[in-house]
């Protein structure tokens, strides 16, 4: 896929069309690497400290997971409840099956209101829509009011992190961007820069016809939408303009206000290590007569855009449990080195590597991003709702192969793997062959030549050469030696421990078999037994 990021108004930089190419670009960008590393490390250690301080983190993680699992399993029910309750508050609720429809709905509202400008608080869903671009094409000014998003907008880039959109930029780069906007030299001092942006945005808030927000959670029982933020801009966006449009992914639902308590604990701690977010707004409909402020009209656009494809998919449904905290990005050792843009999609890091292909129906153009992971599982460990992203990455790779889109060289390699590993005799033979083939390349017990399949490995490392014998080849002799040396008898205590374990295992096996027999799957159990018997007979 060809994607372009405008570096400034005049030059158009083409980014490579593979994750590998984009990653290499990032790896050569020292500024980016240092900035991303600095902030992710800060966020990661903040999160770890906040989890530690919480005291019952694992238990709450499990609670969070259960809430999300339950909600997604009954999404149709809770979505309907939410919509009915929101409508009862006077909210206009719309459904959009894809980005195009959501944009059309937005434009219709904007035209109706004869809007000239819109202010936006942070919303990843709106990034899926490329809504700013659509508004600008109609001559409607769209201003990002979250500091990070504002910086990104000035730079004509896309966010490279779910929570910290400008994570790839350092203070000096940001000061440079804002100085251009201010028409004067601003020092790289966070307070000064934020002060400038605040002043600048204040005017925009007052002028804006429409306020656009995302939605962190939507509470089914109350019909309310909830916004988490730290800068107060979300409050301005949702109170000053006369019309509010909220973009919400269809999976943002939680059943009750009580569930919000769990999320309000998990989300900020996981995202930034804060105990609570600075502002949490629970909005239930437009301004009422007695309210001091609020929009006169409130719209919620509920977006599918590939989400419902995951429903009922045993491997990927849990993706919908994501609360977009960004903890998996901060924990990811790959993200730390390559940043967010290398992933090529709206969402980056481990969640992006899975979500982007999933939302895009696993299309070939997104096949490669699942490869950009060492499958270390740090994402799963960090995730407040325990989404097994490391497993999902493997499932994605499997789907690609099943769809016949595996790369030719890899396919051949894997056929070779199968040939060798399906029979130990062949493995032995290949080891022998390897020892012979390696001969001209070995120096001091290692191979340093960068040729063929060794190119990638040896560009950063030396490869140990194969020793003169495999373990198997040594085994006969070693076994005899050990035997001859006079083996002591096993200590009573050790033997008892082992026997106890085996006994416990056998007992639980019997119980499993009993469960199976009791279950409705009686026939299956007897088939299983019969098949096992056959297999034993074969040997």
């Amino acid at each position: 896929m060809l994607m372009s990021i405008r570096a400034d108004h005049s030059t158009v930089q083409k980014t490579p069309d593979s994750v590998k190419g984009r990653a290499e670009l990032a790896l050569n960008n020292e500024f980016l690497r240092r900035a991303v590393k600095f902030t992710t490390e800060r966020l990661k250690s903040g999160k770890l400290a906040a989890a530690e301080e919480h005291g019952n983190w694992e238990e709450w993680r499990e609670r969070g997971r259960q809430i999300r699992l339950h909600t997604i399993a009954h999404l149709d029910y809770y979505l309907e409840q939410f919509v009915n309750n929101a409508r009862a508050h006077g909210v206009h609720v719309h459904f959009a099956s894809d980005a195009k429809e959501a944009v059309q709905l937005t434009m219709r509202i904007a035209k109706e209101k004869q809007a000239k400008s819109a202010v936006k608080s942070k919303s990843m869903v709106s990034e899926e829509l490329h809504i700013n671009h659509a508004l600008e094409e109609e001559g409607i000014e769209a201003i990002e009011t979250d500091l990070g998003e504002y910086i990104i907008q000035l730079a004509h880039e896309t966010p490279s992190h779910i929570i910290i959109p400008a994570i790839h930029k350092n203070r000096h780069q940001i000061a440079e961007l804002l100085s251009k906007e201010a028409g004067e030299d601003l020092p790289p001092d966070t307070a000064v820069l934020a002060g400038f942006v605040r002043k600048k945005l204040r005017e925009k808030f007052l002028e804006a016809d429409i306020g656009m927000t995302g939605c962190n959670f939507a509470i089914a029982e109350t019909g309310s939408m909830v916004l988490f933020e730290n800068e107060g801009n979300g409050r301005m966006v949702s109170t000053v303009p006369k019309t509010q449009i909220t973009f919400m992914g269809m999976e943002r639902i939680i059943p009750t206000l009580d569930d919000l308590e769990v999320m309000a604990t998990l989300l900020p701690r996981s995202a930034t290590g804060q105990r609570l977010t600075v502002y949490m707004s629970v909005l239930s409909g437009p301004r009422r007569a007695a309210d001091a402020d609020g929009p006169e009209e409130m719209h919620i656009i509920i977006l599918d855009n590939g989400r419902s494809l995951q429903l009922g998919d045993t491997h990927f449904q849990e993706l919908l449990n994501c609360i977009r905290c960004g903890a998996c990005l901060n924990a990811c050792p790959v993200y730390r080195h390559i940043g967010g843009h290398a992933y090529g999609g709206v969402y980056s890091g481990p969640i992006g590597a899975v979500l982007t292909p999933a939302l895009n129906k696993n299309m070939a153009e997104w096949d490669d991003i699942a490869s950009a992971s060492s499958l270390c599982g740090a994402c799963y460990e960090a995730c407040p709702v325990k989404i097994p992203l490391h497993d999902m990455l493997v499932y994605l790779r499997h789907r690609k192969v099943e769809a016949g889109r595996g790369e030719q060289a890899e396919k051949m390699g894997m056929q070779g793997f199968r040939f060798i590993m399906s029979d130990a005799k062949r493995l032995k033979m290949i080891a022998k062959l390897g020892r012979w083939v390696q001969k001209p390349f070995v120096r001091d017990g290692k191979i340093t030549t960068q040729i063929g399949p060794l190119k990638g490995w040896n560009a950063y490392r030396h490869l140990p050469s194969l020793p003169s014998e495999t373990f198997r080849e040594q085994w006969k002799q070693l076994e005899q030696e050990l035997h001859a040396s006079g083996r002591p008898t096993v200590h009573e205590e050790i033997r008892a421990r082992m026997e106890k374990l085996v006994a416990a295992r056998n007992q639980s096996d019997h119980m499993h078999a009993g469960d199976m027999a009791r279950s409705s799957d009686l026939q299956a159990a007897s088939r299983l037994k019969a098949a096992e018997g056959e297999r034993r007979d074969e040997r």
């Binding site: 050792p333 992971s373 270390c376 493997v394 950063y460 490392r461 050790i494 082992m498």
Partner: protein
Amino acid sequence: MKVSLFITCISDVVYPRVAAAIVKLLNRYGIEVDVPDIQTCCGQPAFNSGYWDEARASASTILDAFEASDFVVAPSGSCTGMIHHYYEELFKDDRVRLAQAIRLKEKTYEFTQFLVQVLGIKDVGAEFPHKVTYHPSCHGTRLLGIKEEPRELLSHVRGLELIALPHQEDCCGFGGTFAVKMSAISGAMVEEKADHVLVTEAEVLVGLDMGCLMNIGGHLEYRGEPVRIMHVAELLEEGVRRAHEH
């Protein structure tokens, strides 16, 4: 009681000294180790790349090799993790294989788990007067929950100075085929890991997975840094021999 060794392909072909160390160490406790000859590889390289038929062909040799074993011990958290975490998924459509996979999972242990949890051994009586740092490999830690066992074993080794590895939980960048397919990212990761190892000024880097150690050690060597890499089993076995020499 039949205790079998799952050699793992890397230890068989590239690091036979690791498998030998396990067998010798267990022998000291009177445990006779059986090494079924039909075993090959757990299938992880193919499984992780999405080639599950190929993975099954390899993993089936493991299922068959250990049918009669009471315990299976492996010098790898990653290969043990494969059996524990993914075999059920891999064989879910074959009831016979699935039953085999579940039985195998129940009796398969990573080496330090086997020593500490099963045998109840924490002090092997080793002596190893060197500065050592330990890298906890991702799969052992995250798929199997191995945290205390290696530390416990190392803490009882006389003369050994264990130096904490900064950012120890970070992946070393090995990831099997990842190191070849995404070599530049993997290279950046191993470079950072090696930096952290060097900060400790340790003479020896120990771990539970030869894949990761081959990666970090290979990079250290490439940089001309003389840090020795050892599997925990090797260190213990060498340490026991040393202690007995006196």
